[in-house]
Amino acid sequence: MENEKNHIIPYRTFLFVLAGLITLTLTSAVVTQISLGTFTVAIALIIATIKSSLVLRVFMHLKFESRMFSLAVIAVVLLIATVIIITLLDYLYR
């Protein structure tokens, strides 16, 4: 994370991202109150994924790091997702 020591991100970027994150939070709170059945879960999780990628890329500087860090994060996320899917498949077809 010290590769690009002098990369300075302007304050504006952070404020824009923060505004986006708060908007997404409120959107997900409103949308999930309207009952959409199974879609509710999907929408809530998609919004959470968008929010976390914003935090990872901008707040955690992944956008400005070497690609290796991003790939490693994606690998960890895929690992957790795979384990959840395999576990649920097991329960589904037991």
Partner: protein, 185 residues
């Protein structure tokens, strides 16, 4: 630092696996139990954490541009927001405990296994998360003191960056806890 963050992600990842299995096995109980949590408090806490994350991210910019006063100010706000999150959590948990909803409660046990599992996970996952908040706050307080005494400066801010990364991770975990416990009902 990133390696450590990965172990943290896997720790909570394991808990998310447990959550999805329990939810799959007790969909109705989870649906009803989640309605008892206050969406308002959850949303407020989400916004508090997101803002504090932005503040610590901006404090790095402030330090890079050699603006020590602004750095200290932004870190101070980060700490205050973190404390506000914990205060909210205290009142939220307090409310549940007053209604006899806590792990091991005999009144909760009467409501069936699904409710016990939901609130057990709720207290454990948000509790573990709150523990991370406390640790993060201690780190940030130490770093703030170091910046104040000029031990950390614009050409030596790895520690600030790392505590920032840790704080963002705590934020990241909350981003997923929030929909799973408060929103999906």
């Amino acid at each position: 630092m990133w390696l450590f963050l990965f172990t943290e992600m896997l720790l909570f990842g394991g808990l998310f696996v447990v959550y999805s299995v329990y939810r799959f096995r007790n969909p109705v109980a989870f649906h009803l139990a989640a309605q008892e949590l206050s969406v308002t408090i959850g949303t407020i806490n989400t916004i508090i954490l997101l803002t504090s994350s932005a503040m610590i991210a901006m404090s790095i910019t402030a330090l890079q541009t050699k603006n020590k006063k602004l750095t200290l100010f932004l870190l101070g706000i980060t700490i205050l927001l973190g404390l506000a999150f914990l205060v909210n959590k205290y009142f939220e948990w307090g409310g549940h405990i007053k209604e006899h909803i806590y792990p091991g409660s005999s009144i909760l046990a009467l409501r069936g296994q699904g409710d016990v599992l939901f609130f057990g996970l709720y207290f454990f996952m948000t509790g573990l998360h709150a523990l991370h908040i406390i640790i993060g706050l201690i780190f940030i307080a130490i770093i703030t003191a170091k910046i104040f005494r000029n031990k950390i400066t614009f050409n030596n801010y790895v520690l600030l960056e790392n505590s920032g990364l840790y704080w963002h991770l705590v934020d990241l975990i909350w981003i997923f806890l929030y929909p799973l416990f408060y929103l999906i009902t």
